[in-house]
């Protein structure tokens, strides 16, 4: 879908949670400066990175995202003085636990993008899309729900879910 990818290439779906005061405005600046970037990212605005709950990220993956971006104000620049400091601690722990349970950290980008860093936002978007495209679709997550298979059998075997033949 994005300009440079050729037709059959996997186009990752990236959900971005960005803070209204810095990164959202930075993305606006990227727009006014006509900085072209990949179109795989869907932005969800929050007042502050402090508002972003790890459940948002888990739900984004559950709803089909292949990658997630979380971005907000640089430390000391937060409009609410400390929201990004709390977010930094929260995501430090979430990221380690997610990696521990097998979610590739490459699927998550955490960044500070200020209102004047339109170019940095473009780079964050393009780099994340490229990285997640390399990782491929996050199918493992989508297959966690035991959808009835062709025969209508309601409980697929775990091996089926995990895409492995039975031992």
């Amino acid at each position: 879908m994005s300009g440079d990818g050729h037709a059959d290439e996997f186009e990752p779906r990236i959900t971005a949670f960005v803070c209204n005061w810095c990164t959202y405005t930075g993305a606006d600046l990227a727009g006014t400066s006509r900085l072209h970037m990949a179109s795989n990212v869907r932005i969800i605005r929050v007042p502050c990175t402090g508002r972003i709950d790890p459940l948002f990220i888990v739900k984004a993956f559950e709803r089909g995202a292949d990658g997630v971006i979380v971005s907000g104000c640089h430390p000391a620049d937060c409009h609410y003085t400390a929201g990004n400091y709390h977010a930094r601690r929260r995501f430090a722990l979430f990221r380690e636990l997610a990696a521990f349970v097998g979610i590739d950290p490459g699927r998550m980008t955490f960044s500070w993008v200020s209102a004047s860093e339109g170019a940095k936002w473009r780079d964050v978007v393009n780099d994340t899309v490229a990285r997640v495209r390399a990782l491929g679709p996050f199918d493992e997550y989508r297959r966690l729900v035991d959808l009835p298979d062709a025969s209508g059998e309601s409980y697929a075997t775990i091996e089926g879910l995990l895409g492995r033949t039975a031992p």
Partner: protein, 331 residues
């Protein structure tokens, strides 16, 4: 992901280093309760507490039909029922959790607590679920407990039978106490594979393999929420897992719902969990929940220099921050 911090080689002092060191230096940390009253054995203290009316009920352990079980003694005569031995693995602090209305109904509690249990009490104090003057704490010196309570006779601890939680315990003589009973005990034996080693093993495995391991484990979770009910620090009236509008966590027990439930439970305990191991012990499906808690405890320790201890004055890292918190993972 940060490389696994190998605690196995950690000298005992180190783990007690951060919060413990302060303890030796300042014995007067507990002015309100004064020096623990060495009236000898558990029964003596229990009888004294009930007789003096310092508490309406003494929560301890007693012989049950199969092994030991929690006991609620309300009259001085019944104190003989109280026992303490290697089978007393339960964390009785869970009965101080305000959600347990039926225990609260028994009146002012006195509770017999091992070192790990004392940490849980400190957690409840930190989050204003309990005030220090509402409870009498009878500390017991502990040399480690078995992982299984349902034995007719107390067995000696062997590397195979000792509870994994006891290895390198930094609180074998609890400090947050009004009374302290029991003789000093030797260090518990080292289990064949410590929790840290199991965590390290998993961390060395490639991402996909870790994913498969956990999906397989979580697929066995039946969402009975025993882990939540047994945990002294799961204090919410209505858990987020029970919230249906919006339903952040799928109520159905398929692997996707179980993954978000277990992730959320572990994250809500990050920096609060005292690693008493009850959740893992209570889980009917045998999920290795301690690995999740241990992994987060390591991260909290490395990143925020905090180890859950039984000193309620030391603030938990949740809801706190430092200007120089590490941000190597942020662009």
């Amino acid at each position: 992901m940060t490389e696994p911090h190998d605690l196995t080689t950690e000298a005992p002092e180190a783990t007690t280093g951060a919060p413990g060191a302060a303890r030796e230096a300042a014995p007067d940390r507990y002015p309100e309760t004064g020096a623990p009253d060495e009236t000898g054995d558990l029964h003596g203290v229990a009888r004294h507490v009930l007789a003096k009316g310092e508490a309406d009920v003494v929560i301890g352990w007693e012989e049950g039909r199969r092994g030991v079980r929690p006991a609620f003694v309300t009259t001085p005569d019944d104190v003989e029922r109280l026992v303490f031995d290697t089978r007393c693995v339960h964390n009785l602090a869970t009965y101080l959790n305000p959600r347990r209305r039926q225990v609260a109904a028994l009146g002012r509690p006195a509770v017999v607590i091992k070192g790990c249990d004392a940490k849980a009490v400190a957690g409840l104090l930190r989050e204003a679920q309990l005030s220090r003057d509402q409870v009498v704490l009878i500390g017991v010196r502990c040399g480690g407990v078995l992982e299984v309570a349902e034995l007719d006779e107390p067995a000696d601890l062997t590397p195979e039978t000792v509870s994994p939680r006891c290895y390198r315990c930094d609180n074998r003589e609890p400090h947050l106490v009004d009374y302290l009973v029991g003789d000093p005990q030797a260090e518990p034996p080292r289990p064949p594979k410590t929790v840290d080693e199991r965590v390290a093993e998993l961390e060395d495995a490639p991402v996909a393999e870790r994913w498969h391991f956990w999906v397989e484990e979580f697929s066995r979770c039946v969402r009975c929420y025993a882990c939540r009910e047994v945990c002294p620090l799961c204090i919410c009236e209505r858990c987020v897992a029970d919230k249906s509008v919006p339903q952040w966590i799928d109520a159905a027990s398929h692997p996707r719902g179980n993954l978000s439930w277990n992730l959320t439970r572990a994250l809500h305990l990050a920096g609060r969990c005292v690693e008493c191991g009850e959740c893992e012990r209570a889980c009917p499906s045998g999920l290795p929940l301690m690995l999740l808690n241990r992994k987060l405890a390591q991260a909290v320790r490395q990143r925020f220099d905090y180890v859950a201890g039984d000193d309620p004055e030391v603030p938990a890292p949740v809801g706190d921050y430092r200007l120089d918190d590490a941000e190597e993972f942020i662009r």
